[in-house]
C-alpha cells in the first residue's frame, strides 16, 4: 500500500484565506512550505464570503480609527474577546487590505478613487472593503494568483486525518489523497491549522461540506485547548424557501444597503427591541436609519444592523409568536429603496449582483420587486483552538492555528467582515512565526507506530463490515445534524443539552459500526465516514461548553439562564482531552485588560 513521504519546514493544512496568507508569508521568508487542502485550490469556503473585509481605512468616513474598530470588536464579542488579538487585528487589518490591492485585487471605489467601504452590523463607521457581494472570491483569487508564484507546494484534494507528534511537539500529519485514496505522510518543523469552521454539524447551515471542523478536532486530539466552543453564530438571514436552498446565506450587505426586516404585519420589528449596549448608536426610526445608510453623519445606524446574535433572536421570536412569513421566516425587503432613490432597481443589481442572481435562479424571486424570505442559518464558530495572540501558536508546541479554526478574536459574537480581516492578519502572523519556529527547532522525528495507527484508523470504515443495515455514514451524519439543530441550536437549556451530550456518545458508537462500500478511489462514502469523527468531537465540545456556561451572552442563549451574568463575563470555557481520552471541561479566568485599552473602550463604548 502506497504511503508517500514529504518533508517541509512548514506544513499548512487548509487553503482558505488564512492558509493561503500564511503560505505566502512563510514562503516569503524562505521556508519550504506544503499547502494541503481537501478540495481544489481556490474553492475553499472563503470563496463564498460576500459582504466585505473590515478595516479602519477611513476612506468613507475619515473619523474611523483602529481604536474604534477595536472597541466595536470588543463590544460585539461581549467583552470575552482576547483584547490583545482585537488590538492587533484592528491595527494591522488596513495594511493587510492594501497589500491585497498590491497583489491585484480590484475593490469597489469611492468617488475619489479609493477603496470603497460599506456599513455592516456592529461597526460604528462604514468599514468593509468589498467587491459587490463577492468579496470572498476577490480575496481568495488574489491570494491564490499571487501565491502560485511564491514557490510553495500544493497538495490539493488531500485530507489530513491525524497530526503526528514527537513527544509533546507536533511534527507532522497523516492524510489521504481523495482522488486515489493513497496515503501521504508530511514531516515538518511547524504545522499550521487553517481548516475553517464546523457549520456542517448543524442541519441548516451556510457552510460547505468541508466545514466539518477538522482542525478543531485534529488539534484537540493532539492535546491542544479548545475555547469558546459554546459560541456558534447563527446568521440571521439565510434563505428559507424552497427547501433545497434552506440555509444558503443572504449577505448582511442587503441590510447594509438599506434592506428592511419586516414581519407578516408589515412592521419593522427590529425597532421594537434595541439592547441597552446599543441604544446610543441605533436610530430611533426607520427614517433616521435610512439617512444613515445614505451617508448622513448625524444619523445613527438602522436597527437592522444590530449584531447578528440579537437579530437572529428577534427573528426567532417573531416566527414563534406567529408573525412570520409563509415558510417560517420573516421578510427582508430591499426593493423598498426604490421609493428613495432614482434607478433603484439598477442600484440594487449593481450593489448586490450575486443576491439578485441567487434569488432569481433558485427561488424565482426578483429582489428588486419583492421581499425575500429569510431565517437564521448556522454560519460561523467563534470557538476554536486557543492561540498565543502574537504568534498564533496553540497550547501544544509546534502547532499553530489561524482563521476560523482559531479562537480569541471574536469572543461571544463575531462582527460581520471581521473574519476576512482575521484571516489576513493572523494568517500572516501564523506564517511568519511558524517559519521562525521551524527554523529554530528544525524537524522533529516521526514515530512509525503513530503512522501505522493512523493508517489503520483511516482504513477502518472500508475494512469493517457495515452493521447499520446499509444506512452508512450519511445516515449518522444526518441524524447528528438534526439533533444539533434541535438541541444545541439558537435557544438552549440544561435538559436538552444534557440529552445532546448523551446522544452524541450514542451516535459515536453507531459511527464505529458503519462500513462503506466501494474502494478508495474518490469515494465520498469513505470521506464522509472519516469526517464524521471530527463532527462528533466538535459537536460534543459545543454541547459540553454550552452546558457549562450558565448565562446568556452573545450567540449563546439559555432559556434557563436568560440574562447576562457579570461573573461569567470574566471566564472562558476550556475543553481539553483528558489522559483517559474523555473530554474535560474547565473555566479559565480571562486576563485583565490593559489600562490604555480599557480607556479606549470607555471612550468609544
Amino acid at each position: 500500500m502506497e504511503v508517500s513521504r514529504h518533508e517541509h519546514d512548514v506544513l499548512i493544512i487548509g487553503s482558505g484565506g488564512a492558509g493561503l496568507r500564511a503560505a505566502i508569508e512563510a514562503s516569503a521568508g524562505g521556508a519550504s512550505v506544503a499547502l494541503v487542502c481537501k478540495s481544489l485550490l481556490g474553492k475553499a469556503h472563503t470563496v463564498m464570503a460576500e459582504g466585505g473585509i473590515a478595516a479602519a481605512l477611513a476612506n468613507v468616513d475619515e473619523r474611523d480609527r483602529w481604536e474604534i474598530h477595536f472597541a466595536d470588536t470588543m463590544r460585539g464579542g461581549q467583552y470575552l474577546s482576547n483584547w490583545k488579538m482585537a488590538e492587533i487585528h484592528a491595527k494591522e487589518s488596513p495594511g493587510r487590505v492594501r497589500e491585497l490591492e498590491e497583489w491585484g485585487a480590484v475593490f469597489d471605489r469611492t468617488k475619489d478613487g479609493k477603496i470603497l467601504q460599506r456599513n455592516f452590523g456592529g461597526h460604528a463607521h462604514p468599514r468593509l472593503a468589498h467587491v459587490g457581494d463577492r468579496t470572498g472570491l476577490e480575496m481568495i483569487r488574489t491570494l491564490q494568483d499571487h501565491g502560485v508564484h511564491q514557490g510553495f507546494d500544493d497538495y490539493q484534494e488531500c485530507t489530513v486525518t491525524r497530526l503526528l507528534k514527537d513527544g509533546e511537539r507536533v511534527v507532522g500529519a497523516f492524510g489521504y489523497d481523495r482522488e486515489s485514496g493513497n496515503f501521504r505522510v508530511f514531516q515538518a518543523g511547524a504545522v499550521i491549522l487553517a481548516t475553517g469552521g464546523l457549520g456542517r454539524a448543524f442541519k441548516i447551515t451556510s457552510n460547505s461540506w468541508e466545514c466539518t471542523g477538522d482542525g478543531h478536532s485534529l488539534g484537540y486530539h493532539a492535546g491542544a485547548d479548545l475555547i469558546d466552543m459554546e459560541f456558534i453564530q447563527f446568521h440571521p438571514t439565510g434563505m428559507v424557501w424552497p427547501p433545497s436552498v434552506r440555509g444558503i446565506l443572504v449577505t448582511e450587505g442587503v441590510r447594509g444597503e438599506g434592506g428592511a426586516l419586516t414581519n407578516s404585519e408589515g412592521r419593522r420589528f427590529m425597532y421594537d427591541d434595541i439592547p441597552p449596549l446599543y441604544v446610543n448608536q441605533t436610530a430611533d426610526t426607520p427614517e433616521e436609519g435610512w439617512r444613515y445608510v445614505t451617508g448622513d453623519r448625524d444619523a445613527r445606524r438602522p436597527a437592522e444592523l444590530l449584531t447578528r446574535d440579537h437579530v437572529a433572536r428577534c427573528i426567532v421570536r417573531e416566527v414563534k409568536e406567529g408573525r412570520g412569513s409563509p415558510h417560517g421566516g420573516v421578510f427582508l425587503d430591499i426593493s423598498w429603496i426604490k421609493e428613495k432613490i432614482p434607478n433603484g432597481a439598477e442600484h440594487i443589481k449593481r450593489k448586490l449582483p450575486a443576491m439578485y442572481h441567487q434569488f432569481k435562479a433558485l427561488a424565482d424571486i426578483d429582489i428588486t420587486e419583492e421581499p425575500m424570505e429569510v431565517g437564521p442559518t448556522t454560519h460561523y464558530v467563534m470557538g476554536g483552538l486557543r492561540v498565543d495572540p502574537d504568534t498564533q501558536m496553540c497550547t501544544v508546541p509546534g502547532l499553530f492555528a489561524a482563521g476560523e479554526c482559531a479562537a480569541g478574536l471574536h469572543g461571544a459574537n463575531r462582527l460581520g467582515g471581521n473574519s476576512l480581516s482575521d484571516l489576513l492578519v493572523f494568517g500572516q502572523r501564523a506564517g511568519k512565526y511558524a517559519a521562525a519556529y521551524a527554523n529554530e527547532h528544525g524537524r522533529g522525528t516521526l514515530e512509525e507506530a503513530q503512522i501505522e495507527e493512523a493508517r489503520k484508523e483511516a482504513l477502518a470504515p472500508l475494512e469493517r463490515q457495515d452493521q447499520t443495515d446499509g444506512a452508512g455514514p450519511y445516515a449518522v451524519q444526518f441524524e447528528l445534524q438534526d439533533m444539533m439543530q434541535e438541541k444545541v441550536g439558537i435557544v438552549r437549556e440544561e435538559g436538552t443539552l444534557s440529552e445532546a451530550v448523551e446522544e452524541i456518545a450514542a451516535l459515536s458508537r453507531r459511527a464505529d459500526l458503519t462500513g462503506v462500500t466501494g474502494d478508495r478511489k474518490f469515494n465520498p462514502g469513505w470521506h464522509t465516514a472519516l469526517d464524521l469523527r471530527h463532527l462528533l468531537t466538535n459537536s460534543e465540545a459545543c454541547a459540553r461548553a454550552a452546558l457549562e456556561r450558565k448565562e446568556s451572552r452573545g450567540a449563546h442563549s439559555r432559556v434557563d439562564f436568560p440574562d447576562k451574568d457579570k461573573e461569567w463575563g470574566g471566564f472562558t470555557v476550556v475543553l481539553k482531552r483528558g489522559s483517559d481520552g474523555n473530554m474535560e471541561v474547565r473555566r479559565d479566568a480571562l486576563p485583565p485588560i490593559r489600562e490604555d485599552l480599557q480607556k479606549i473602550i470607555e471612550e468609544h463604548g
Binding site: S39, L40, G42, K43, A44, H45, V47, M48, G95, R98, E99, E101, E102, W103, G104, V106, D108, R109, D112, G113, K114, I115, G132, R134, G136, L137, E138, R141, D145, H146, H149, E179, S208, W209, E210, P242, P243, S244, V245, I248, L249, A354, Q358, A361, L362, A363, P473, Y474, A475, F478, V516, T517, G518, D519, K521, F522, N523, P524, G525, T528
Partner: protein, 247 residues
C-alpha cells in the same frame, strides 16, 4: 410522490456507462440535490465535487442533458420530465471518476501567465487612485469562478485537444483582466500570440454562451486582446505610449 429519473455516468479512465437512478423530487430542487440524494441513499461512492451550492465556487461543473452546467444552479423543474436526465462529466479534461475530472492542466496554464506587476503606489500609505469607471471591465472578468465550463465547450480543447498550444477562454479572460488592470505594467501580448495560441480562437462564442457568471468572454475579453496583439505586432510605439500614460 413525484420522482425523477437520472442517468448518471459511472466509471473512470478505463471506461464506464450510464446508470439509471430514480429519486424523489422536492420543490425547488437542483440537479446537485438529486445527485446528493442518490449518493446518500443508493450509491455511497458516487464521486462528485461541490462546495458552495450557490454558484460561487465553480466546483460542480458537469454536462446535464448534454449542456455544460453548474449542477447547483440547474433546477430540476426546468428540465424536461418526459425522459431521463443525463448527468455526465466534462469532456475536455481526463476523467478521474464518475462526475469528477482532472482539471490540474488549468493550474499549470495559470502558472505560465506573467503575474500582475503594479506601477509604484500613488500615495505614501502604499495605495493607488483608481476610479470605478476604469475598473468596471476588469471587475467583470474577475467574476470568474473557474468552473472551466468555457474550457469544456471550446472546440479547440474539446475536439482538437490542443491543450499544449491553446490556453482556452478562461485564461484569455485571465490575461484580459491583467492586461486591462489600470495599475499593471507587464506586457503579455507576445506570449498570447506565440505560446498561448490566441490566434486559434475563431470567435465561435460558445464559451460566452455557457459562462454561468455571464462574462462576455468573446466580445469583451478575447476580441480586444486580439486587437492589442495585432497592434503590437505592427506598432510597438503604442505600448510605449500606454506605459507612459497608463492607458
Amino acid at each position: 410522490m413525484a420522482t425523477a429519473t437520472l442517468e448518471i455516468w459511472r466509471g473512470d479512465a478505463t471506461g464506464g456507462e450510464f446508470k439509471e437512478y430514480t429519486t424523489e423530487l422536492t420543490e425547488g430542487m437542483v440537479v446537485l440535490d438529486a445527485i446528493h440524494q442518490v449518493q446518500a441513499e443508493q450509491a455511497h461512492d458516487l464521486a462528485v465535487r461541490w462546495n458552495c451550492k450557490a454558484g460561487k465556487c465553480g466546483s460542480c461543473s458537469a454536462e446535464v442533458n448534454g449542456q455544460p452546467k453548474l449542477m447547483c444552479m440547474t433546477r430540476m423543474g426546468d428540465l424536461p420530465t418526459d425522459r431521463p436526465i443525463t448527468v455526465e462529466p466534462m469532456k475536455a479534461f481526463p476523467l478521474v471518476k464518475d462526475l469528477v475530472t482532472d482539471v490540474s492542466w488549468n493550474d499549470e496554464v495559470k502558472k505560465r501567465i506573467k503575474p500582475f506587476k503594479p506601477r509604484p503606489p500613488d500615495f505614501e500609505d502604499g495605495s493607488w487612485e483608481m476610479h470605478q469607471s476604469d475598473i468596471d471591465r476588469v471587475q467583470e472578468f474577475r467574476k470568474c469562478i473557474e468552473c472551466y465550463l468555457c474550457q469544456d465547450v471550446c472546440h479547440v480543447l474539446r475536439e482538437h485537444h490542443m491543450h499544449d498550444e491553446f490556453i482556452g477562454p478562461r485564461f484569455l479572460v485571465y490575461n484580459a483582466a491583467l492586461e486591462m488592470h489600470p495599475l499593471d505594467t507587464e506586457d503579455r501580448r507576445e506570449d498570447l500570440r506565440k505560446s498561448q495560441g490566441i490566434g486559434l480562437c475563431n470567435i465561435t462564442k460558445c464559451c460566452t454562451t455557457v459562462c454561468p457568471e455571464g462574462i462576455t468572454i468573446t466580445d469583451n475579453a478575447i476580441i480586444p486582446l486580439k486587437e492589442r496583439v495585432v497592434d503590437q505586432a505592427y506598432d510597438p510605439v503604442r505600448k510605449l505610449i500606454q506605459l507612459v500614460t497608463g492607458r
